[in-house]
């Protein structure tokens, strides 16, 4: 017994040690960003010797706020990203539910179509998508930023895979209890695939928040700029001033960090625990 215990303690320490070593390497970019963003704007950053700034230049952040229409871009990004994320999680989960749990004519063919579109690089579909949006009279508007992001084959595919792993008995129990397919979706599928939904939420949020090329192509007016576009402009202006650039990048990643931290806190271990006996 004691041998087992010391063994597991040793194991525990080993795990911590491993996590710490990898953790230091993954933490480094963030620290470097933060440190650089507080440097003097003409400081040399090409060697790591100057990692710790002599004086904290918080005014770099003021410059970012002053030189970009930061608040506007931030709100645009928030609005667009939230719309895309919520919309995508919603439509994807509905479609994934149909793909994972329903029998219908042409299901596998359509699903293969979903997979297929993922396999064509965006470079060649960008122009047709743009033309479609132009014909819908959407260019340079929020709909151009939001609409194409909502309908995602990626999200559908991902959620379908997770839904497939849910125990079928629960749905049958719900059917007997008086649920139609919609109520099953609401009361059984969604709560039980919480982790998957959170994951998709996090991934979509990151993707949409960072997205650069598409917003660049479809927006012209500065009051539609999302953060990456505003910061790219900022970068053109102050490209060689690393501290400013990093201050901008740091502000940019902060919301993603917050979303990730809160999102993964909602991860629930063994969400289907006690549902069925295997």
């Amino acid at each position: 017994m004691s041998a087992y215990k010391s063994n597991s303690l040793f194991y525990e320490i080993l795990v911590y040690l491993m996590l710490c070593i990898i953790g230091v390497s993954t933490l480094f970019p963030l620290l470097w960003m933060l440190a650089t963003s507080l440097q003097d704007s003409n400081a040399d950053i090409s060697s790591l010797k100057s990692l710790i700034p002599e004086k904290l230049h918080w005014e770099n952040y003021n410059t970012v706020f002053a030189e970009t229409n930061f608040l506007r871009a931030f709100m645009n990004s928030t609005f667009v990203t939230l719309s895309v994320t919520v919309g995508q999680v919603f439509t994807s989960s509905l479609a994934a539910y149909a793909f994972a749990r329903m029998k219908f004519f042409g299901r596998d063919q359509i699903f293969l179509g979903y997979l297929g579109t993922l396999m064509i690089p965006g470079a060649v579909t960008m122009i047709p998508t743009f033309i479609i949006l132009r014909n819908l009279d959407c260019i340079n508007s929020y709909s151009a930023l939001i609409l194409p992001g909502i309908f995602s084959a990626y999200g559908t595919f991902m959620l379908r895979q997770f839904f497939l792993a849910l125990p079928k008995d629960l749905e049958e129990a719900a059917m007997i209890d008086g649920c139609n397919s919609w109520l099953i979706y609401i009361h059984v599928i969604l709560p039980l695939s919480r982790n998957a939904l959170i994951t998709l939420f996090i991934l979509t949020f990151m993707g949409s928040w960072k997205s650069f090329m598409w917003p660049l192509i479809v927006t012209h007016s500065s009051d539609l700029y999302t953060l990456p576009i505003a910061l790219a402009k900022f970068k053109e202006m102050f490209g060689i001033q690393w501290s400013l650039l990093m201050a901008g990048s740091f502000i940019m990643i902060l919301p993603m960090l917050i979303i990730f931290i809160t999102g993964q806190k909602f991860f629930t271990k063994g969400i289907t625990l006690g549902a069925v006996k295997g």
Partner: protein, 367 residues
């Protein structure tokens, strides 16, 4: 009135596999019907068709005189207890039980009353706020039962509800389900592969095999008058002993001569029924308790078997002895106090009034 009637009901899967083949079954109101059979016999499929979880490929199913083939499960006025419990893991015990009622738009007070009532029946009052993962297996099974009870359905469906419990809990829950049936007085359909459960619970038992109904009758009738070799062998532990052979003689006196030459004279009272089977291959069946029991010994001129004991299993109240009868393994249930040991040769009388004879070709009962 909630009679369940199946008329020529079949289930054919997309691949062409027939799971259930044109079965006819009438389950009376307030009856406890047990569907029993080995796995893959179509019993669960039948239940799921009644529940509406599987489509009925052909035939008609009725609950309370209403054709339910195309009625969605929620409108069939049924409740079902699943083998795996299938509790909603994100809901508390209370919510699990209340969920179905809420969906049926029952008032909050009513829900509360019914849930507490059910909890009391199942003595789960103290666990209402718990989530399923904080319950033991037996408690989860109770919640699954409770979820069905609160609904007050006209038909209860049980899909092997006790198979995931340990032996002791299984016996306990069995009696509780039995009590529940008496208390609720509702039609119940119960699927199991365990013949003991079937015998102890059912008003009637429906024995199935390969998608076909073998026999429907009360437990005792099934035990005493099995319709064929399969039913005879499936019901009862230890199972009935079968000896293969042929029927010899004619009119006045018939003998059963086994393949390895054992000669069993058959009672005269059987003669009428045997006359049409003379000289045909047949299977002789007799239950272990009818070999060498006190009862058998008291009958004069009873035919007997000579055997050499291979294994002895004392069960306390009686003792099982295993022996080989020219290739076929046989079991006899004898008095526990009999002094015997392995290797002993015994002469065991047969209680012919309880013996059966089956047609070897059709496997149907002759007598």
């Amino acid at each position: 009135m909630s009679e369940v009637i199946l008329n020529d009901v079949s289930k054919i899967y997309a691949g062409g596999v027939t799971a259930v083949d044109k079965i006819n079954l009438q389950i009376k109101d307030k009856e406890f019907m047990v569907l029993v059979g080995p796995s893959g016999c179509g019993k669960s499929t039948t239940l799921r068709m009644i529940a509406g979880l599987e489509d009925i490929s052909a035939g008609i199913a009725k609950i309370a005189d209403r054709v339910i083939n195309d009625v969605p499960p929620k409108n069939r006025d049924i409740a079902m207890v699943f083998q795996n419990y299938a509790l909603y893991p994100h809901m508390s015990v209370y919510e699990n039980m209340a969920f179905g009622l809420k969906l049926h738009k029952i008032s909050k007070n009513d829900i509360d009353r019914r849930v507490r009532e059910a909890a009391e029946i199942l003595s789960m009052q103290n666990y209402l706020d718990r989530k399923p993962k904080a319950l033991s297996g037996g408690q989860r099974q109770r919640v699954a039962l409770g979820r069905a009870i609160v609904r007050k359905p006209s038909v209860f469906l049980f899909d092997e509800p006790l198979s995931n419990l340990d032996a002791k809990m299984r016996v306990q829950m069995r009696t509780e389900i039995s009590k529940l049936h008496h208390r609720l007085e509702t039609t119940m359909i119960y699927v199991t592969h365990d013949q003991t459960e079937a015998m102890t619970l059912g008003d009637r038992i429906c024995v199935m095999k390969d998608g076909l109904i073998q026999q429907v009758d009360s437990p005792l009738n099934i035990y005493e008058r099995p319709a064929n070799v399969f039913v005879a062998g499936f019901i009862g532990t230890p199972p009935m002993n079968f000896i293969r052979g042929r029927l010899c003689g004619h009119k006045e006196s018939f003998h059963f001569i086994s393949d390895n030459g054992i000669d069993i004279p058959l009672p005269e009272s059987w003669n009428v029924k045997l006359s049409s089977h003379a000289e045909k291959a047949a299977v002789f069946g007799i239950r272990p308790e009818d070999i060498g029991s006190e009862h058998a010994e008291s009958v004069p001129d009873a035919p007997s078997l000579n055997c050499q004991i291979e294994v002895i299993e004392p069960m306390g109240s009686e003792t099982y002895i295993y022996f080989n009868l020219g290739g076929s393994a046989c079991i006899a249930k004898v008095d526990a106090h009999r002094r015997i040991k392995v290797g002993d040769s015994l002469k065991l009388p047969l209680l012919m009034s309880k013996a059966h004879l089956f047609d070897a070709e059709t496997e149907k009962i002759i007598l």
